[in-house]
Amino acid sequence: MMKSKADEEDYWNSSKFKAFTFDDEDDEFTKKQEVEPQLPHRVFPASCFLFPAGISWSVRETASSLREQSFPKIDTTPSLPKNSSGYSLSSLFKGKEGEREMMDCAAVSLEKFRSLQEKLLLLDEAVGVHDGNVITAVLIYLKKSLSKEVLFRELESRQTALRHFIHYLTESKEQRLLLELYRALGRTEDEALLQYKEHLRITDENKRRDFLKSCVSLPFSPEDAGHVQDHYTLLERQIIIEATDRQAETGGKVEIFQKFPRRASILNMPLITTLYYCCFYHYAETEGTYSSPANIRQTFRIAEKQYFVTALAARAKLKAWHDVDALFTSRNWLGFTRKKSPLSFSRVADILSKNNAPVQVLQEYVGLVDDVELRVALAQKYKCHFIVISTYRDLKDRQLLLGYRGKVERGSEEERKIDELLSNPQIRWKN
């Protein structure tokens, strides 16, 4: 998708995108300070008041032993105060000395922050110093000390904190609360997806199917609702197919299961894998059964190309060349047959060759490749000599044909064919 030239120039010249400086006005941090005048003192470094900073005391020992080998000091933590009780909010803003004391995580109890205003301030300051650990710590406290309604409401306008909270709930697997949060925020699609995700935890296939059924009515976008509906329908069918086939396999009466034992259950496989499976084991079934490829194709609105690729791969794997042939044969109203394919014949040949199709089968499709150069290249690659020969004949290129004579086997049918052509007086060679 290209933007028009004018658009693009506009974009570059628009005043919105002015050069960025370090003291950018719309920087989150500076903005936060706008709320500050309500407070007695300046910003306090929230990163300091909960935990020892970064490298802990134990490192100091190591570092000092290393220093003897001319190491720089890497310790950053000042000594921790012994006495650590009785902080008020204002003492948190006292400046240097206060900060030091706040480093001990046990020392500063968040319980001191009782009013909503204090709590929110704490949160905003934590966000201001960009330390996710501290932000989450404050959120854990707010979660314990505020009602859901109030917390959710306040988080709505605090995107950074909100994302931390969502991540925390996700990691600690507090599904229910997270769903409530999404609901409160009106994020219905997130809510739906989260609920849908639950199906991954359900191992029993019948329970999973029932759960997926209940997911269909979740507030997905219309497009996604369709996908989820498909997911449910697919599993429902897989359960039926699996039961029938397992029985057939253990019964030992159905030849194909004896010849090609199933390697895995079809349950929970993607749609296309299922289609492949059905093309492999249930190809000839009439549209009436759940396992018939035609039925699957129709139910799930599988694109023509997709269907062909899958059916071709499955039948080629079984070396059912007759089915392959039938797949591409169409009849016109006069009853003449011709080969038609929604995917290029070079691709068809590629798939066939990967399934070790014999030359007789391959050449049929290689011969249908329109582009002459590609056709010759493929024919040579797959050793479809007759295609090469007839293409050279069509090109009336005597030299190439002569050259190719050296590449086919002595006394072979191909050699005879070449000789026959070379001695044919009716062909007007161009060289």
Binding site: T62, T136, T310
Partner: protein, 605 residues
């Protein structure tokens, strides 16, 4: 192939100090729990730990048995258990699960060592489970793992997802601490540039920590520093890599500087693990090369080797003796490495031919240039239809990223879900959230949308929205940007991959990685205006500036927040050779397209 580096290239600092520091800290922590103890190690910490302390070191400090954390019940008879883990809620919850001893009335000592730091949320888990205090906790500030002479890794792949997808800033301070540690050993820095929002936060966190500590005046070993956010450039990690080291990573996955070559490479029935770094002389010469040059180089090398071997013909006993004692060992070693890399190259060749690699590259290049989009769509469709592993479907994301029509989007998404499972709805939601999936809004320019939305929300969120819009702008304007910065060289000229003329060689001359281009531009123009508009777009800022001119100025630290690819490292090495710089890459993790997409997956419990 051996590129002649500029003579005035400065020397890189020695990073082995970092390993020693980390090891000593760990030993100190282990000694805090005197006596015999069993050590449980988080799976993804095994390799990093292995790089700095081997089993015998651990044994020396009374570690009895070693276990991998596997989320299964623990069978340990030791009465002291030590857990070395990442600060993850899930792991801490597991520690509780094993702690059934308390109920059984057994008295044991437990210690959790979080690395690189602990999080309050993890301690809350202990508190909630009623074992806070029963379990002692500590931090192992193991931030910097030197993987090579110019690569230092934080080994924190989750940085990417947590920060850019979830919007959780828990690793910002970690980034700051890592930088602080680096600075205190190799600084002081004279200039720091930041590219991106997270960079600025990390910078601030670092400054805060510098204020807290003190810095002795010392000789700087690194001068200029770049901090760069991964989300500034998603395109580069989504492209298939074609430089040797990148290709090896894409195919075999290099883990913590080590790769496992299977039987198809070793042409035996065994797999072997190989360290890939500058110590491997053969690897060192090909790692930055475009793959098409590698075979020629290796066969030349093989011929030279043969000649060297042949020398022994016609030697007398004495000469032979010297040959065996002095040269043979080196030759044998080279021989071994050579056959290994030849094996790897052949195996990669085979795999790539099977996957229609040429076509894949062609599609990627077309997407980058914005040509023949229909063909690209049908290529992608065909891959989806054939259920080619979705991790190899990065052109798809690339296509999403460079912007697509709603109609195409719907159809591709439907086919994708049919091929790989409907649960990838979750993946799509994540890609969208991250900004990797950009649906074009037909007929609406950004400004119109912005003012519309602006009216709907109150002031507080408005700033946030502007942020979101500028990142949207950044993404859907990839093409405009690409033209501005000439990221896609003109395709009508022949590009000689053997004699690269710019960093585009790492993508066969088709694309210069945006991340590296920005760095080049800043260095060239010494910071200020790169291009009007672009500074803001990337929140490009000069964060610190002092005017100490020193040799260290030419040693440049590039810190990637959210990971970088081997291709980018190769590009920077190239830039360094051309301009007489030395780059040190400090990254939160090594990434590539598959890892990037994997980080977006949610279709598991």
């Amino acid at each position: 192939m051996a590129h002649s580096a500029r003579r005035d290239s400065p020397e890189l600092p020695d990073f082995s100090v970092l390993k020693r520091l980390a090891r000593d800290q760990l030993i100190y922590l282990l000694e805090q729990l005197p006596g015999k103890k069993d050590l449980f190690i988080e799976a993804d910490l095994m390799s990093p730990l292995d790089r700095i302390a081997n089993v015998s070191t651990l044994k020396q400090h009374e570690v009895d048995k070693l276990y991998k954390v596997e989320y299964k019940p623990v069978v340990s008879t030791s009465d002291q258990l030590c857990f070395l883990i990442r600060p993850r809620i899930q792991t801490v919850k597991w520690v509780y699960v094993v702690n059934a001893d308390k109920a059984a009335g057994k008295f044991k000592r437990y210690k959790i060592i979080f690395t690189p730091q602990k999080f309050y949320a993890c301690e809350t888990v202990l508190e909630e489970q009623g074992i806070f205090g029963d379990v002692s906790t500590d931090e192992w500030a193991f931030y910097l793992l030197p993987l090579d002479e110019d690569i230092i890794n934080l080994e924190l792949p989750e940085f990417f997802r947590d920060n850019f997808l979830e919007g959780d800033q828990r690793w910002v301070r970690t980034g700051g601490s890592a930088l602080h540690l680096f600075h205190s050993i190799y600084g002081p820095f004279s200039k720091v540039y930041g590219i991106g929002r997270c960079s600025k936060m990390v910078y601030e966190s670092w400054r805060e920590q510098v204020k807290e500590g003190e810095q002795k005046a010392r000789q700087a070993e690194v001068g200029t520093v770049f901090l760069i956010d991964r989300d500034v450039d998603f395109v580069t990690p989504l492209c298939s890599q074609v430089v040797y080291e990148g290709l090896v990573d894409d195919i075999f996955r290099i883990k913590c500087g080590c790769v496992e070559f299977g039987p198809d490479v070793t042409s035996s029935d065994k797999s072997i693990k190989v360290m890939l770094n500058s110590q491997d002389k053969v690897f060192n010469e090909i790692r930055n090369e475009h793959f098409s040059n590698v075979f020629g180089f290796l066969s030349q090398k093989a011929r030279n080797l043969q000649t060297a071997y042949d020398k022994r013909r016609g030697m007398d006993i004495k000469q032979m003796k010297t040959f065996v004692s002095e040269e043979l060992k080196g030759l044998k070693q080279e021989h071994r490495l050579l056959s290994l890399h030849i094996g790897a190259s052949e195996s990669m060749m085979k795999k790539k031919t099977k996957q229609d690699f040429q076509e894949l590259l062609k599609t990627e290049h077309s997407l980058l240039e914005g040509f023949e989009i229909r063909e690209c769509i049908s290529f992608i469709e065909e891959h989806i239809n054939r259920q080619v592993s979705y991790l190899k479907l990065c052109p798809l994301s690339l296509y999403f990223f460079t912007g697509l029509l709603p109609k195409d989007y719907r159809s591709l998404k439907a086919q994708y879900l049919q091929s790989y499972g409907v649960d990838h709805l979750l993946t799509f939601a994540n890609l969208k959230q991250l900004g990797l999936l950009v649906e074009q809004q037909p007929g609406e320019t950004l400004t119109v949308m912005e003012s519309k939305m602006g009216k709907l929300v109150n002031d507080k969120t408005a700033g946030k929205l502007t942020d979101a819009f500028s990142s949207l702008a950044k993404k859907s304007n990839f093409r405009a940007l690409s033209r501005r910065l000439s990221l896609v060289p003109k395709s009508d000229e022949e590009y000689d991959l053997r004699v690269p003329r710019d960093m585009a060689y790492i993508f066969s001359g088709a694309y210069i990685p945006l991340s590296c281009k920005l760095i080049e531009q800043v260095l060239e123009r010494d910071g200020w205006t790169v291009y009007n508009g672009i500074n803001h777009l990337f929140q490009l800022a000069i964060l610190t500036m002092s005017f100490i001119a020193s040799d260290a100025q030419r040693i440049i630290l590039v810190m990637f927040l959210g990971g970088c690819t081997f291709s980018e490292i190769s590009a920077l090495r190239f830039l360094g050779r051309e301009r007489g710089y030395k780059f040190i890459v400090l990254t939160t993790a090594i990434t590539n397209s598959a890892r990037l997409i994997e980080a977006m997956l949610d279709n598991h419990v």
